[in-house]
């Protein structure tokens, strides 16, 4: 980021007293809408300066949780704490939050400066101080010189930066982001994500980010809470979520996975050994603690952890190449395989020589990278 942006960040931080405790805590939070339970006793604690992502399919309760943090909704049970204070009965406008909306919600009847200054004006900040901080935050989001534009005159990416500036200028205890990238095209999205994360780190502002896009969640977050049906299924770093999913839902929802039919071969310390064909792979024992030895299990393996080989009969499994999908940096190969729970296996390999070596229709063996993958009792 450029120098102006750095100065902007410094000026902003300087003007704000640091919060002793910026953490947000949800404690057994329950929310019902009529008959449906949107959140079912959700507990999660977000550390000061942390970038926490709530990830899940639509209807999983992630947005409800965010709206509870913002105070747009009131919980039916449990407690919400911001900076150690109980927020259940505190209205939105007294919560010291910054929020970015899916459609940005820039006030159409105000220009950029008016939008950004709104929160300061409401707080009775003097005109001079307001101008100084608006300038600083616009520098931070690289929109110096756009103060007099109206929201309509801005591109999607610029609107988003104004929305971010508006949320940050009041130095919120917590920054709430509601699917802010969903309206941007793919290229812009990637660069805005990097920019957002840089700014978030620079200001060290506690952030709760809601998305249904698992790749966004993995690339941005310090920690991810994977949600489904009003509960948190797994809470962990992106790597933990991706490499050690705790159940079938998380394993399927986050990243691509293959499901192979296998058998529990034995237990070795904290690992379980799974047999697939003649191959043996080690997986975490924890999800299999109720499974008897030699019982059938489903092995979830990432496409990059499967390896294609010519030795069709001396490896875990094999099949017929159905299609290659050239992705530029890598190749996705779909293989018809009888050991797969789905019709086809997906193998991801670098380099396009794969396509020449195993053309569509050829027989190919599949071996497994040991130590990668996770198994669950058969569904």
């Amino acid at each position: 980021m450029n120098k102006a942006a750095d100065r902007g960040a410094k000026a902003l931080r300087g003007s704000i007293a640091p919060h002793a405790e910026g953490a947000v805590r949800f404690d057994a939070v329950t929310k019902r809408f009529g008959e449906t339970t949107a959140l079912d006793g959700v507990s999660v604690s977000i550390r000061q300066g942390e970038f926490m992502t709530l990830l899940g399919p639509s209807g999983c309760g992630k947005t409800t949780l965010l709206n509870l943090a913002a105070g747009f909704l009131a919980p039916d049970g449990g407690e919400i704490l911001i900076a150690g204070e109980r927020m259940n009965d505190v209205p939105t406008y007294q919560r010291e939050i910054g929020m970015m909306f899916q459609n940005y919600a820039l006030f159409p009847h105000m220009n950029v400066a008016g939008n950004v200054a709104y929160g300061l004006k409401v707080r009775g900040v003097s005109r001079q101080e307001r101008d100084r901080r608006v300038e600083a935050v616009l520098a931070l989001v690289r929109l110096t010189g756009f103060a007099d534009r109206t929201p309509r005159q801005l591109s999607g990416g610029q609107q988003q930066r104004v929305a971010l500036a508006r949320a940050l200028v009041i130095n919120p205890t917590v920054l709430l982001l509601d699917e802010p990238f969903s309206a941007l095209d793919k290229n812009l999205r990637a660069s805005m994500q990097v920019e957002l994360r840089e700014i978030q780190r620079k200001l060290n502002v506690t952030t709760i980010f809601v998305t249904h896009d698992q790749s966004e969640a993995l690339s941005l977050s310090d920690r991810v809470a994977v949600m489904s049906e009003g509960r948190i299924r797994q809470l962990g770093t992106p790597e933990e979520i991706y490499r050690q999913p705790c159940d079938r839902f998380v394993a399927s929802f986050v990243g691509d996975s293959n499901i192979l039919r296998g058998r529990l071969d034995g237990i070795e310390g904290t690992s379980a050994v799974i047999a697939v064909g003649i191959a043996r792979v080690k997986v975490p024992r924890e999800p299999l603690k109720d499974v008897a030895v030699s019982a059938p299990v489903d092995l979830f393996v990432r496409p990059e952890h499967l390896v294609m080989t010519d030795a069709v009969h001396s490896c875990a499994t094999g099949g017929t190449v159905a299609a290659h999908v050239y992705q530029g940096g890598y190749v996705d190969t779909y293989i018809e395989c009888s050991d797969s729970l789905r019709d086809r296996l997906l193998v991801r390999s670098g380099g396009h020589e794969t396509m020449a070596r195993w053309p569509v229709g050829s027989l190919v063996g599949i071996s497994l990278t040991t130590g990668e993958g996770v198994a669950f009792a058969q569904a």
């Binding site: 913002a70 406008y93 929020m99 909306f101 006030f107 159409p108 409401v122 707080r123």
Partner: protein, 272 residues
Amino acid sequence: MPRSTYQRLLGVIGKLAVVLILGFLVLPAAVVTIAAFNDKAILSFPPQAWSWRWFAKAIAYQDFRDGFRNGLIVTAWSSTIALVVGAMVAFALQRYQFRFRKMLEAVLLSPLVIPHFTVGLGFLILAAQIGWNRSYAVVIACHVVLVLPFVLRSVYVSLRNLDQSYERAAASLGASPLRVLVTITLPLLIPGLVSGWLFAAMLSFNEFTASLFVTAQRTQTLPVAMYNYVREFADPSMAALSVMYIAATAALIVFANAFLGLGKVLNIEQSR
């Protein structure tokens, strides 16, 4: 590609139908307009000679002048009161769940199904009872009741179309509910409020049936004055007045459209 005769015939019939419908719609206005320029002192059609004199006479006629002035007073008050009341009720209906909500809505929209003369008669009886039957108050009150459903509907629809996230954004930035209302909600609702007011004003200014019951000689509005005139005279000054009526209303609509069109651009494009 050459079109078949059949298709061409269909096209001609279609165009003809559109022209006929449009012609039928503007027919009364056209007849009145032409009659207004008739030099003779009778409402005949088509005229033999042309003149502007009925316009001059209509403008000079004292009952019309008073009626116009009364109409403006009644319209300004009634549509403004209806706007304030309607906006508040629309807010309540749109934002809050409460007992009798459905009933309130039904009652407020009921003037749409109750005939105007019933409303007028009702107000006349009430006003006579308390001795207000010669006052503006009863005319205004009656008009408020008649135009309220339209204002209510207009504000209600704009409120429903207002993206909730603007108000939420303002609240998240620390604005109290009152501040959100004044700095965000009302400015964004201006197109809806203005169109509601204009619609109410036009209805009120043109209202005849109920006004006939509740106005006295001193408070009679322009449509009532016109009715009283046409009962005694049948010269083209009525037609001249109608032409002025049409021109004024059309000008108002054009103005409003330009203004509201702009407002809509401001409002809608952002919310996408």
